[in-house]
């Protein structure tokens, strides 16, 4: 634990992420104003003591929307990444460890899922069951699976040709054990870096899907839905676009800094930091 905390970027990123998470969580029990409270007479107000971030085109409190939207965005992205790692990494490792028919099958499977970008999956689901936050989770989650499978396989392929893997096999380890003991630890850094990219992409993808009307639906809100609401007036009232957009940027930056810090903290090769090689 102390070792982890000695990485400043990890601490900064984690603290910032936690702050946003707490803000999001808080929206579950308290927001300054109810987010459904429409008050046309008080629309387009600037920031003030009563409305910290002003009000939107329907007179809703922007700070309240932001809190609630932050929670939705986090939730969607986190569940989608869990789907991707949980199914994708085992597939990628199995492809390298078993090779042959298994690898062929995994590759075809990833190719196949890849052939359906999240937007397309979301479109198809929306056409079938109508729009909603679940669509975004499923669509982004499905797209995450082959991403992690490919990255796990790509990383493990170059590890599998190294001597210590052959040594492990000579020592009598089964394929699953080799994948678990030798391949997985050595691709952890790749998975973590990809995990941060996918979490940020998840939040960004949720924003994109909600922005084109396929994700979160009113009266609930998400950062992307706020941008959709602001779209019509963004040339006149850019503030309504700037606030949720900046929130997305800050959250994603916080997550990525935390992920980078984690990578430096976990990867043994980088921790030893062989300076001669890089001199």
């Amino acid at each position: 634990m102390r070792r982890l905390l000695s990485h400043p970027s990890l601490v900064i990123g984690l603290v910032a992420t936690v702050i946003f998470l707490v803000i999001g969580l808080l929206s579950l029990v308290w927001t300054p104003y109810p987010i459904e409270q429409i008050d046309i007479g008080r629309r387009y107000l600037g920031p003030s003591a009563a409305h910290w971030l002003g009000t939107d085109n329907l007179g809703r409190d922007l700070a309240s929307l932001l809190m609630s939207g932050t929670w939705t965005s986090f939730l969607v992205a986190a569940v989608a990444v869990a789907i991707g790692v949980g199914l994708g990494v085992p597939l990628g490792l199995a492809a390298v460890a078993w090779g042959g028919a298994v690898e062929w099958l995994v590759l075809r499977l990833t190719d196949f899922v890849f052939a359906f970008p999240a937007v397309i999956v979301a479109i198809l689901i929306t056409a079938l069951i109508g729009p909603g936050a679940i669509n975004a989770i499923v669509a982004i989650g499905i797209f995450n699976i082959p991403v992690f499978a490919r990255v796990a396989r790509g990383g493990a392929l170059s590890i599998a040709t190294l001597d210590f893997v052959a040594a492990g096999r000579l020592a009598g380890l089964g394929r699953a054990m080799i994948a678990w003991r030798h391949l997985l630890p050595n691709i952890m850094s790749l998975i973590i870096v990809q995990g941060t990219i996918q979490t940020s992409l998840g939040i960004l993808a949720e924003a994109g899907l909600s922005y084109i009307g396929l994700g979160t639906q009113p009266p609930a809100t998400s950062l992307g839905l706020m941008l959709r609401d602001a779209q019509g007036v963004f040339l006149i009232h850019p503030w309504l676009t700037l606030v949720p957009g900046l929130a997305i940027v800050l959250i994603v930056i916080a997550l990525n800094i935390a992920g980078d810090g984690l990578r430096d903290a976990i990867d043994p090769r980088l921790r030893q930091g062989n300076p001669n090689v890089l001199a």
Binding site: V96, W98, G99, G100, R108, D111, F112, F114, A115, F116, P117, A118, V119, I120, I123, L124, T126, A127, L128, V147, R150, V151, G154, L157, S158, A160, T161, V165, R175, S189, L190, V193, I197, S200, L201, L204, A207, G208, L209, Y211, I212, G224, L227, Q231, F234, L235, P238, T241, G245, I248, V249, L250, I251, V252, N256, I257, L270, V277, L278, A279
Partner: protein
């Protein structure tokens, strides 16, 4: 190598076939009868039944599926009954916006991202590395469509250099068409360039720690030569993976970004088609997207094998 390419080509065909089956099956589940839709709610059941017969909708699913596949192989994607035009023609017109947009964005992101990533890795820990990575860190975090809005505010509204949206067809005024795609492709490229820079740097830093770099140094190469001749080539493996993925993001991204700039791309065609229950059009447009993405993955895999000869021979671990 040829055997490897042939095997991948076979996989490509199988992927497409399964994708076609899934699309066909999913869209078959969609509620709504096209014949009913065309004739309106006041149509008699007999008229609807007759039209269903004419459109071939009452044939068994597998016959309709085979007919669809055979038609597509001959370039016939069917006829859209809401737009009363051949689907191939409709899609072709939209691809004139979507594909150039995705390709421009890809070229911009590679031209910016890869050199910056290599530069950052070579100057690891120095000020330049920090500057590049902080910039990339920010770039990764910016939603492309939001960046598009900001670009519009700056270049179209404030500076008035470029149009805020809309699209002039290529055959009318290709200069205007190009200008219309500048802001959208920049918006699409920024996050991808940032991701590319990060991945390139990570990969290069990883391989820089490998023994063969030390060996290359020991035989007298400078660090720069060793990294350029041995490091970059090896670092390209993970980068290639990402490049393949990126094209998929870009094609999907155009659907969102075209919304900001009011571009008549494939996305809007699909949205309209879905809301109007134009299944033939939705089917054609989705399969085209699927073919585009799958073909990219095929090329990525072949490029993979070209970069790393070890991968060609290996069949098992």
């Amino acid at each position: 190598m040829i055997l490897f390419a042939l095997r991948r080509l076979f996989g490509f065909a199988v992927t497409l076939l399964v994708a076609a089956i899934v699309i066909f099956w999913l869209l078959d589940l969609l509620p709504g009868d096209p014949a009913q839709f065309m004739l309106g709610i006041n149509a008699t059941p007999e008229a609807v039944a007759r039209l269903r017969g004419q459109m071939g909708l009452d044939a068994p699913a597998h016959e309709r599926f085979i007919g669809w596949i055979l038609g597509m192989l001959q370039g016939d994607f069917g006829t859209s009954y809401t737009q009363r035009a051949p689907v191939a023609e409709l899609i072709g017109g939209r691809l004139g916006v979507t594909l150039p947009l995705a390709v421009f964005a890809m070229v911009i992101s590679m031209a910016v991202g890869l050199p910056l990533g290599i530069l950052a890795a070579r100057r690891r820990g120095k000020a330049l590395d920090t500057i590049i990575m902080v910039t990339a860190q920010t770039g990764v975090a910016i939603p492309n469509f939001w960046f598009g809005m900001l670009l519009t505010l700056l270049f179209a509204v404030t500076l008035r250099w470029l149009p805020p949206g809309g699209f002039t067809p290529w055959n009318e005024d290709s200069g205007a068409a190009l200008r219309g795609l500048v802001l959208p492709s920049l918006a699409l490229a920024l996050p991808q360039a940032s991701i590319l820079a990060r991945v390139m740097r990570t990969a290069l830093v990883d391989v820089t720690g490998q023994d063969y770099i030390r060996t290359a140094r020991a035989k007298g190469l400078t660090m720069g030569e060793a990294v350029w001749r041995h490091g970059v080539r090896n670092a390209l493996l993970p980068v290639l993976t990402i490049l393949g993925l990126q094209f998929a993001y870009l094609v999907a991204g155009t659907i969102i970004v075209e919304n900001v700039f009011y571009l008549p791309g494939l996305g809007r065609l699909i949205f309209t088609a879905i809301s109007e229950r134009d299944l033939i059009l939705v089917r054609g447009a989705t399969i085209i997207l699927v073919v585009t993405v799958t073909a990219t993955m095929l090329l990525t895999d072949i490029a993979y094998a070209l970069v790393d000869p070890r991968l060609r021979e290996r069949s098992t671990m």
